[in-house]
Subunit: 411 residues, 2 copies
């Protein structure tokens, strides 16, 4: 008898009909003799409705109160799913975050889970019940409600799987797995049977929005095998686990991209120690998240400093940067909010030289100008003009033969 944690997102529980459908799937899994804990999100649209209410009332909603408000979304779903399970003869019990002591730190709106008390849940499982837990929420040691931030229900599922030592954490979503790239951009994109945590991390952070990045980190840290699969369509999905000998050894597992980027450059800043922090400090203080950072020394005395931010924050970041430029005695601030980032990801590239060269060669052949480059051990990202996105993705997909199933090999 195994223990599985299932997680169903907002679309999967978007109507009472869909909640009944989920109950059917959970009851079926339970009938195979396994213990099941289900984590659910708010019904799709609910969270946005609540946020809209808050904004009607307060320009920047008080963060503590926003958590009190938003956590009701998941609470509605757990009650309805427990009812749906009971209705089809499957004993079930629902719990909010505070009821199973999903204790978090007190950073409202993006809290981190500190500990989980599994006692109540294991008691219910032993009694033959399905345990339904609200995703996305926790409680501080002092008894305040917190939320884990967008996508936080995935994190809840993984954290519960880790705490309960579950055999697998199944993330049901509206896609049937992780693909080599976005099928809307490259129709020949292929579902991967397996992918490593590290690859998934790079894919997730780069815009393959299947899984929330923190949940993958968490799963990797506690070695919880994670499976992404569809709640509407049968199929094995994609298993995310640690690399092992049997994993298909492709050089590249996938191509991720991010359309929401904008690029800012401060030119001719006197090159002194601490200049990077003086440039990025005010940006960070304004709560603007920075993605890629590149620094070029223009000459001996000055340096050019470039970074990317979310396109929504381009204007705000630009204004801050102009002030910084003045105070640092820089020459000029330039920027471009019509750029995208395209990345190739794969643990295989660790042991293979020449991947980067091959990538740049393909792009050159298609006359795509590279505006920025950043690399990690298992990822190479380039920034290109927005208009080249599709072309770049398709050319790379073909070059690295991602449409073909790879058999395990020994190179």
């Amino acid at each position: 008898m195994a223990l599985y944690v299932h997680k169903y997102g907002g679309t999967s529980v978007g109507t009472t009909e869909r909640i009944k459908h989920v109950a059917g799937k959970v009851a079926e899994a339970r009938s195979r003799g396994d213990d099941i804990v289900v984590v659910v999100s708010a019904m799709s649209g609910e969270t946005n409705k609540l946020v809209a209410y808050a904004r009607e009332i307060q320009e920047i909603p008080a963060s503590r109160e926003l958590d009190v408000l938003l956590s009701t979304g998941e609470q509605v779903t757990i009650a309805l799913l427990a009812m749906a399970l009971e209705q089809i003869g499957c004993p079930a019990v629902s719990y909010t975050g505070w009821q199973v002591r999903i204790v978090s730190d007190s950073v409202h709106n993006k809290a981190r889970i500190v500990s989980i008390d599994t006692e109540r849940m294991t008691g219910d499982l032993k009694a033959g019940k399905v345990v339904v837990v609200a995703g996305f929420q926790g409680v501080t040691a002092g008894g305040d409600i917190t939320t884990l931030g967008r996508g936080g229900s995935d994190t809840t599922a993984v954290a519960l799987a880790a705490a309960l030592k579950a055999d697998e954490c199944l993330i049901y979503t509206d896609v049937d797995g992780v693909y080599t790239t976005d099928p809307r951009v490259e129709p020949r994109a292929r579902r991967l049977d397996r992918i490593t945590f590290e690859e998934m991390l790079e894919m997730a952070s780069l815009g393959s929005k299947v899984l929330q990045i923190r949940s993958v980190e968490f799963a990797g840290k506690y070695n919880v095998p994670l499976r992404v699969l569809s709640s509407f369509k049968e199929g094995p999905g994609t298993l995310i686990s640690y690399e092992d000998a049997k994993v298909e050894e492709a050089l590249i597992s996938g191509i991720a991209f991010n359309r929401d980027e904008a690029k800012l450059t401060i030119l001719g800043v006197p090159d002194r120690p601490g200049v990077a922090s003086r440039i990025l400090g005010p940006i960070a203080e304004a709560n603007i998240e920075i993605d890629m950072i590149v620094q070029n020394n223009a000459d001996d005395q000055t340096t050019d400093f470039t970074f990317t931010v979310n396109r929504n924050e381009y204007r705000k970041a630009f204004d801050i940067l102009e002030k910084t430029c003045q105070s640092l005695g820089g020459r000029q601030v330039t920027g471009d909010d019509k750029i995208v980032k395209v990345s190739i990801v794969g643990v295989g590239m660790r042991s293979h030289a020449g991947i980067a060269a091959k990538m740049f060669e393909v792009l050159a052949k298609e006359s795509i100008n590279i505006r920025m480059i950043a690399t990690s051990e298992i990822k190479i990202s380039v920034v290109v003009d927005e208009k080249y996105l599709e072309l770049a993705v398709r050319a790379l997909h073909e070059t690295f033969e991602l449409e073909r199933e790879k058999l395990p090999s020994t190179h």
Copy 2:
């Protein structure tokens, strides 16, 4: 400096605009230097929406899960009201039932409050904050969410006022006080400045739906002065407190009525000890609430037994009663779901004979046939045909001169 508990019902917080309006009223009260605790209901329509969801999923929703579901309604309101207060510069903090340990018994859907932990609230009040508490909900000692049943937010407000030793509990609603009778039936109905707890209890239970009966009981028990007033219109409302020398001493304070009644009679039942419980037992087991009960001995051997139930449960009660009739060897079951109850209420009648006679005389003069009579110390109720409701109320209102303001007198 005084401490007031304010309670705003669903209509008063039905939109974000109205929540802002409530925030304005609360901040104004706070600015007079008093400590304020606010109890709120779910935004109007929310509870019904949630109940509809539950019914779509489960015929009879699991009671524990229904409480998890319904308690989200008030949780939304507390967060929004706290935000609205912060927005206008009035420091505020919101609490759910479990957060301030409104501990209840574990009778889901109609739990009773056992204790309240005031420590957190008094700390916040001392720190100058307005405390916003979710009405209608509690938590069991074991950590399960409960609700107090319909109108339970009033009970929460009174219980908090008692626990905090508040100077007054102000119930803001969509009417501007307690009237001598329903103004829609008798346009000359008059707002009462004061009424006693006992009178209010009789008025509430008889269908003057201004206040939930349990909250009045509670207020009486803990001697919390209760004021009913409008959240839309300025005015003193009606103060509900213990009778004191200065209270206007009317014979009759008001006329209550209830349109939702149905009457059932079991005829010719052998008159043995225990027959009443054998008749009412199965009704109670089916969770049907009984209002009036009258028993007439038809002869030495048999008895006729009549009671009233809510009209919605007439059919169900009838079926149960037919089975009981068979097993008890009764003659026949009859019933009527086109009846109403009309009651006159007043502490003044304690010391005045002839009130009942006067009531019956008025009804007789209008040719209204009385189908049942029940009396208590401060109330006389009659059941009449539905069609006579308005006529009966107006005739009684005039006879007992309720449209006239009474001055304190010494009789």
